[in-house]
């Protein structure tokens, strides 16, 4: 897998999303709950805007000094008995991990939920190396069994209902129980417990690496990341290079923002910081620890006007606030990173060729920007993408370009504008019935396919105003 998840064309993906009633219902109710949770937590703090400000300052400072903090991190990890590998590409990262698996002759690998390993397609590489890979986050496990990509970065199986899950469990794992979530989860617990205990290697992502001590912070509710890092003898953490903070003090602030913004919790059930390999005489934890720091296109974002997109802490608050996501679901974005943040970073990571529609899949309502706990101006980034698509990539449709050329002339020449103000209504005349158009011509068609177009009678305001002044009713206003 890569960032891109398939080959279905954009319009078809949108239709698939819109037609999926269960998914839309599930997304809508999840969004409502997540949003309420976030707002309740924000209100409880009372000074949420200060928290967001602090979060954004921390992220900005860290990105500005990313080389310094990654250097410090790697020194500390090594000092605490860990290995660090810097991978410029997905291939380099996968190759490194594959070699560990081969050298260890590992048969079973358990993974904790990690978006970056989805991004680089690590599971395929692990299987090529001959290991069985088990995703241990409940949602990820369901998707893995069903060979389905995630549709949300926090609750990846949001689009699946319990009947589908039961069917998957029964087909792939011989499950015979009911479709109550409790029973399904208990089955997963029992199955995965055996995998944890038998695993040779554990692989995790990373919420926040702490540069000062070389620690890796993992945030979960299920406790699976704890299993993955405590039981196998070898643990590998794969992190996107931007997932780092200077010290424990900043980690704490960002975790507080993350858990509130993501799921409306003050903290999740398990927040764990692991540092290097286990110490002398320690039983739990890895004998061998590897940290893989992945670039895979991120450095193309650094130093550009999109740099703040790297501030993202993967909380999905923007996804949960997005009305477009609500109606089309995650898969419509054709990226493992859906929603507003996905529409921003997917074209940055993989280019515009396959993802040029994404920046337009937004009304620019800015609900995302408002929700973001680290103040990434997401809707502004979408506009920036559109500028690049028009100006640099030259991928805008010809009709639109002509229209915009027309706009330029019209809006910068008051004489043309005046003329249009006079002519607009008469020109629309033939289509107007009862001050409305139901079947509009040309560019109005797409509009009137969905809704009526209102055309009240009467002259333009400027003509009325001129008349009013002429008639001397303007209470002494001077002619402009």
């Amino acid at each position: 897998m890569s960032v891109k998840i398939g080959e279905i064309p954009y319009k078809e993906r949108i239709q698939n999303g819109i037609k999926d009633d269960f998914m839309r219902q599930a997304v809508s109710s999840a969004q409502g709950r997540f949003r309420n949770g976030r707002l309740t937590q924000a209100e409880a703090l009372g000074n949420w805007e200060d928290w967001r400000q602090l979060g954004s300052e921390i992220r900005a400072h860290t990105m500005e000094n990313l080389d310094f903090y990654l250097h410090q991190l790697s020194e500390q990890v090594a000092r605490r008995g860990g290995n660090v590998f810097f991978a410029q590409t997905a291939e380099e990262a996968n190759e490194y991990v594959k070699n560990i698996i081969k050298n260890k002759e590992a048969k079973k690998v358990v993974k904790a939920k990690s978006m970056v390993t989805e991004e680089i397609g690590l599971n395929n590489a692990l299987e090529e190396a001959g290991a069985e890979v088990v995703e241990s986050d409940l949602g990820e496990w369901i998707l893995q069994l069903d060979e389905d990509p995630p549709s949300h970065i926090v609750t990846p199986a949001l689009h699946k209902n319990k009947q589908q899950i039961r069917e998957t469990f029964s087909k792939k794992k011989g499950y015979q129980g009911s479709d109550t979530p409790e029973e399904l989860a208990a089955f997963a617990r029992e199955q995965l417990r055996q995998d944890f205990l038998a695993a040779d290697v554990g692989i995790t992502g990373c919420n926040f690496a702490i540069a000062e001590s070389g620690s890796i912070t993992l945030v979960t509710n299920e406790g699976n990341a704890e299993m993955v890092t405590s039981l196998p003898d070898t643990v590998i953490t794969v992190m996107g290079m931007e997932r780092i903070v200077p010290t424990w003090e900043e980690m704490e602030v960002l975790v507080s923002l993350l858990t509130r913004a993501a799921v409306g919790q003050k903290l999740t059930s398990y927040i764990t910081a692991i540092t290097g390999a286990k110490g002398p005489e320690e039983v739990d934890g890895p004998e061998e620890f590897h940290l893989v720091v992945v670039d895979n296109g991120r450095s193309k974002i650094l130093g550009t006007e999109f740099q703040s997109a790297l501030h993202c802490i993967r909380c999905a608050a923007c996804i949960n606030a997005c009305p477009v996501y609500r109606h089309i679901g995650g898969h419509a974005y054709n990226s493992i990173y859906p929603g507003p943040i996905g529409a921003v970073i997917t074209p940055l990571l993989e280019g515009y060729d396959d993802h040029k529609e994404l920046p337009y899949a937004s009304t620019l309502c800015a609900a995302c920007t408002e929700a973001c706990p680290v103040k990434i101006p997401l809707h502004e980034h979408l506009v920036r993408h559109r500028q690049i698509i028009v100006e640099r990539e030259k991928k805008a449709p010809m009709a639109e370009k002509l229209m915009m050329k027309g706009f330029e002339q019209w809006s910068s020449h008051p004489s043309l504008y005046n003329l249009s103000a006079k002519l607009a209504k008469p020109a629309l005349g033939p289509w107007v019935k009862d001050e409305e158009i139901e079947n509009g011509p040309g560019p109005l068609k797409e509009w009137t396919d969905v809704r009526n177009f209102s055309v009240p009678q009467g002259q333009s305001f400027r003509d009325w105003f001129k008349q009013r002044q002429k008639d001397g009713e303007s209470n002494g206003n001077k002619e402009s």
């Binding site: 703090l45 000074n47 602090l54 300052e57 400072h61 990313l66 080389d67 310094f68 990654l70 250097h71 090594a78 860990g82 660090v84 590998f85 810097f86 380099e92 986050d137 369901i142 199986a157 949001l158 899950i165 979530p181 409790e182 989860a185 617990r189 417990r193 205990l197 000062e212 001590s213 620690s215 509710n221 299920e222 406790g223 699976n224 405590s230 039981l231 290079m241 200077p246 010290t247 424990w248 003090e249 704490e252 507080s256 919790q265 003050k266 903290l267 059930s269 398990y270 927040i271 910081a273 692991i274 540092t275 290097g276 110490g279 005489e281 039983v283 739990d284 061998e288 720091v293 130093g303």
Partner: protein, 237 residues
């Protein structure tokens, strides 16, 4: 074998980042700036220990955790009651001097015939994990307790394995009142100071907030997924 403690491909990687940032590599001399706002220090700033206990108690309801409060004298009976509620027969706990201090060793000794108690012993190696996996109850002492979020912080080490709080079916945390702080800020500052003073942070620090849970199936909250399915906190005055 992959060679131990290697840092690979770093220089080219970080040089490239410095170049994209349009400057020379930074290896030293970077200080955290003074942040324009620091709201984290404002939370429950003026609360007394007793008020923090109240806040903790209140939040335990949200995190599906039973809250109990007692004093040293009452501890063993509250502990007994909690173990009974969990139908606990087998218990695993850390090797911690506080067990002696709080009379817990004595209590377990007296209950030897009813309760099978294992004290974490590094000499037994992975056997400890097996015992933890089949234990009914994992018993720990909180090192730092976060009132705001209802969180027990554990500094794991050779005598206090991570498995104790993770593998057994249920989880009991004994919380000396003195370990209560307002929120994660204070715990993080403590660890940061440790690091600054050249002390190694523990290889594993757990912030545990109630039992494990998941909402991955149709957003239904299921309490008890991979970790313990039930949790009780006992605050000791």
């Amino acid at each position: 074998m992959v060679s131990q403690m290697a840092i690979k491909n770093r220089e080219a990687f970080l040089d490239k980042l410095a170049a994209t940032l349009g400057r020379e590599r930074r290896i030293e001399g970077v200080e955290r700036p003074e942040w324009s706002v620091t709201p984290q220090y404002e939370v429950f700033k003026d609360k007394t220990q007793d008020q923090l206990v109240e806040i903790l108690a209140e939040h335990c309801r949200v995190i599906h955790t039973d809250f109990k409060r007692t004093d040293r004298k009452g501890l063993v009976s509250v502990l007994q009651e909690t173990i009974d509620e969990f139908a606990g027969k087998s218990i695993i706990m850390s090797n911690d001097t506080r067990h002696e201090e709080y009379g817990i060793n004595e209590f377990f000794k007296a209950a030897e015939d009813r309760l099978d108690v294992h004290v974490w012993n590094p000499a037994l190696g992975k056997k400890n994990q097996e015992i933890a996996e089949s234990a009914d109850v994992g018993l720990v002492f909180s090192d730092v307790t976060l009132a705001e979020s209802g969180t027990v912080t554990l500094f794991n080490h050779k005598d206090n394995g991570r498995s104790i709080s993770l593998l057994p079916k249920t989880f009991i945390a004994i919380i000396p009142k003195s370990t209560l702080v307002a929120r994660m800020t204070q715990a993080a500052a403590h660890i940061h100071n440790m690091q600054e003073q050249g002390e190694d942070v523990p290889s594993y620090v757990s912030f545990i907030t109630g039992p494990s849970n998941s909402a991955d199936i149709e957003m239904n909250l299921i309490v008890g997924v991979h970790g313990p399915v039930k949790a009780t906190y006992i605050v000791v005055d």
